[in-house]
């Protein structure tokens, strides 16, 4: 590339990276919760995010609701979907070898994507609610992304507050540290599993609802988010919830920097190489795994 890279461009990319990273962190926290508590990697995490985006779209297009007000509704709807999935299918494989839960959620993910294709068609849809940017100095802040970042930050903070302060949150953390000990302490582990799957799905839905305002919505938008969320929790350390925040920011920054110094096409390759390198050099993630 012959383009000269100025400090402003780098600063702009850092801004974009942090804005994207906030969303990554929130969505990945959902996957991390489910993985931490049940040792299940939910391959359907991204497709659940897609359902959240569609919920927001239909509330906006059908009822004319402000898309940002639909975030809690999408979360509630997908919380229910998450409960249903866990109650009907996933709880059966929690104790089975990892192969079973991987394949099961993979099957669920295929089914969700194709149901969405049947129900909503593959047409691209968009929520054109807010466009343009705020310009501060030489830096542009995309309005929709800034608002999404604020929402994601607030929801992530709420989630951490919930995990730290409430009885239910403590029970979730206890279960993720040691299921047996949690059981001995009188925690209904199956109920915790059920609710955790719901919370995890709700966080994915929040990501989908916020993305709906930013990118085009289509049934296959979700899959890549399963991979990215996984990447984030590996970067931060699987089972380490604050690690998800660091991992999210890092992924956002790395992707944006890669698209500046290389090309957009290769930013995915860079993210992949990052995953492999981190897994080889520090398999427990940057913050070390399993401290909650």
């Amino acid at each position: 590339m012959n383009v000269v890279i100025t400090p402003t461009m780098v600063a702009q990319v850092v801004v974009s990276g942090i804005l994207a990273g906030g969303l990554y962190a929130m969505v990945a926290l959902g996957l991390a919760l489910i993985f931490g508590v049940m040792r299940v990697i939910n391959i359907a995490h991204g497709p659940l995010l897609m359902l959240g985006a569609y919920t927001t779209y239909f509330l906006y297009a059908g009822l004319g609701l402000n898309p940002f007000l639909t975030v809690p509704i999408s979360m509630l709807v997908l919380f229910a979907v998450g409960l249903l999935l866990q109650r009907a299918l996933v709880f059966r494989v929690v104790d089975a070898p990892e192969l079973s839960s991987l394949l099961l959620t993979f099957g669920v993910s295929i089914a969700i994507v194709n149901l969405a294709q049947l129900a909503f068609t593959s047409d691209l849809r968009a929520v054109e609610y807010i466009t343009g940017s705020w310009v501060i100095g030489q830096l542009a802040f995309s309005k929709s992304r800034v608002i999404a970042f604020a929402f994601a930050g607030a929801l992530t903070a709420l989630a951490f507050l919930f995990l730290q302060k409430t009885r239910l949150g403590k029970a979730i953390r206890a279960t993720s540290q040691s299921r047996e000990v949690a059981m001995v302490c009188g925690i209904d582990v199956r109920r915790i599993h059920l609710l955790t799957f719901g919370f995890g799905s709700a966080l994915a839905a929040a990501g989908g609802a916020l993305l709906a305002v930013i990118v085009a919505i289509q049934p296959e938008m979700g899959q890549v988010w399963t991979f990215k969320s996984f990447l984030v929790i590996v970067l931060g350390g699987a089972g380490n919830y604050p690690g998800a925040l660091l991992g999210g920011m890092l992924l956002g920054l790395v992707e944006q920097l890669a698209s500046l110094f290389l090309t957009t096409q290769l930013s995915e390759v860079v993210a992949y190489v990052l995953l492999v390198v981190v897994l080889l050099v520090r398999p427990t993630g940057l913050l070390g795994g399993r401290q909650t």
Binding site: L99, S100, L102, G107, Q117, T263, L266
Partner: protein, 306 residues
Amino acid sequence: MRRAFLAALAAAVAAFAIYPEFGTGYGVRSILQVFMWIALAGSWNLVSGLTGYVSFGHVAFFGAGAYAGGILITQHGWPWPVASLGGGAAALVLAAVIGGPCLRLKGPYFAIAMLGLNEVLRALVSYFEGLTGGGNGLSLPTLDASVPIYYVMGLLAMAVTAGTYLIITSRFGLRLMTIREDELAAEAMGIDTFRHKMYALLLSAVGPGIAGALTARDQGYIEPISVFPLATTITMIVMVLFGGKGTVWGPVLGAVVLFVAQELVWARYPYVHPLLFGAIIVAVVLAMPRGVLGLLQIKYHLPRTI
């Protein structure tokens, strides 16, 4: 029982061998597809069915083989049978490169790392336009070689199935299955698990590589979307799970039954068919983890090595 089975097998092979003499073009192409799916499903079974390391990105080897074969044919003028071996070699190299880091990862980490690999290859192929034609794809010189490709693909399907039989009945196969059942115990028993998983991955990459190159030659045109679809990985997995993972004939059974079902019924309802694939995976995992063959094995006391 065993003799009857071998006689039936020989009769089937003979029937497929003379079929192109009097079969229709459509028939030849359909059976060619069945052969391809047997080779792909059998190959996935070698790594995922035997070692329990789920590869969600196996189509990457198929696509790598397709591009290697396509490039060797168009830019270096290799005859297609040699180029298809080149496709297998390319897949082997890819497996060696990717296996080094990825197989050090346990279970789910490996699965997701493979899920990403597919997207990465697609991005790389689109990026190196000079070599691969990028998004415009790669057109191969026209050549009607359906019948020879039919035979080669048939040989490939037979080789993969025979190879699976040899592996499952060998000590090497037992070691792979020990890794699947309990990797820690396998290591404690002195099995070099990394090296065994690596061998399994290498073996499972060759078949898809050759099949990819043959498919590229047969179709005459490849593009990133057509040779790296997640749907191909899904189909391989569904076929193996349905037939019975970790068995010799499970992938064959799954490939034949599901391909026929797809041609007869599901082709009319394009979106229902992948939806059913999702449902089959869920149903098989929950209700019959060892597939149709697993059920038959229990019901008719069949040997473990079928």
